[in-house]
Amino acid sequence: MAMSLLGRFAARAPVPVFPAVGRDGEVRLDVLSLAPALRVVDSPRHASILLVSGDIRTADRDSLARVHDQLAHPRATLWWGTQPRADTGAALTVAAAESPETALRDLYRRLLTGGHTSETHWLADEPPNPWRGRGDHGQGGEGMMGGVPYGRMMPMPPTPDLRDGLALDVYTAQFGPFLPQLPPGLVLEITLQGDVIQSAAVVRPPFLPGRDASAPFDRVLHEATPVAAIERARAAHHLRCVARLLGILQLAPQAARCRRTALKIERGGSIDLAPLRKTLRRAGAFAAIPAGLGPIDAAWAAELGGPAARAADQARDRRETAPAYRNLDFRTLCQSGGDVRARFTQWLDEAEQALALARAAGDAAIEKGAPVETPWGHRAPPSVYRLTDMLPGLEWGEALLTIASFDAAAVCRMAPLGIENP
């Protein structure tokens, strides 16, 4: 009785959802995360529902199973715009075009009131590394650490630290592809000493900008497209990038406001970004990013292109010469720093500029097949500059800030597969 009452109470809480983002799944998750009835959480331990958004690569299936098994009971999985795993009998699916909000609510209620059985584990129920210790607590081993308390190895042989040369233990593990603060799909093998990154290698690259984000720009290939639509899409994209960075600065509500603004812009609302910018400045978002963090030089910037290049003072923008922009008084915006703070500022500047252009454009259109400036840099080929070269020596939070300061296309090109990994 008491339990069912508690269950009914619990079912009225915001649905705690852990997102596993696959290909094309990011933008729609950003939109969904604004629903008041949901709470998108950072750890599967805090979630009751695993929301698989977008297609999961074959290589990521084990990681997905691992994250699924890390959710606390009662738990369930909802597949949004993707095929469920073959071995999960009656899987719940929602089409990509629909919002899963009501399905999530309903699933959560049934989960808590006993209408839906909690899912069992997908991986084998055995220790990933068998017990190798001796004695009750595994204390009977050899060496200065006194044995192997659990099947995992003891720390690697000490190596001199990058910053001060002290030889201490290192911790090596694969992070991602579902770590919320890394770009979706990116798997890094990171070696840490304390909280400072000693070395990093790409195991699997992140996803290129998804269908939702690139659709307005791909449209130009097939038909004439209004400048206003292109510029709105650009502003929305940049604001979502800003939101990702704000999350790492511990500014979750401001990040949500950016996402909400992005959605309003996509839906055609007329938005002034000045108040948002003022809020961010007062929050110290600019000052909290260390000066000179994650710098790129001119050659590097030229190779990446897009806002990252313009943030490093490379005034290159296709809109300068595009006929559709001729009467719009377009002026390429640049920053001089080339660091994380400059890229952050550049996104905000360009979003503001894009909205001004969208207002001024009227019904001007870009003709079919004309070159269009996308909100990210060049998409190919793999760059000779490596994301993994930037990370060693950075503290964990600074490293995440650095990665989040690049758009998906840039991260993709700087994190190609199988080159660092022999």
Binding site: D60, S63, V67, P128, P155, D195
Partner: protein, 116 residues
């Protein structure tokens, strides 16, 4: 004395309530499966244990901290007699703090507040 006993009782009640909550809620729990126990790394699996000789990058700051923490012990009795002792107490503590402040400046110059 009676106050200390009361305070101890308060602490024990709160801690006991906390432990009891975790104990009672355990009743209808599922068994924790082996794959569920793997530390969360966003889908990855660690090769080694997290417990290790962790590189505490602010260790030199903790030495400075100890100097100030010891000073705090002198400040408690000093605060009680301060008004009675008057200007003498002010000057004495001022000298003490000045010496320690030089320690902060020296540490800052040596970079002990950086993540080295």
């Amino acid at each position: 004395m009676i106050e200390l006993l009361g305070l101890a009782a308060i602490g024990v009640i709160a801690v006991a309530a906390g432990l009891a909550l975790q104990w009672l809620a355990r009743a209808d729990d599922h068994r924790v499966s082996e794959p569920q126990k793997v530390p969360f790394l966003g889908g990855g699996s660690p090769q080694v244990h997290a417990w290790q000789r962790y590189h505490v990058r602010y260790y030199s700051m903790t030495l400075l901290f100890i100097a100030f923490e010891m000073e705090m012990m002198f400040m408690y009795p000093w605060a009680v007699v301060y008004v009675a002792e008057g200007i003498k107490a002010l000057v004495e503590m001022g000298m003490f703090l000045t010496i320690l402040s030089i320690g902060i400046l020296y540490g800052w110059r040596e970079g002990i507040f950086r993540w080295q």
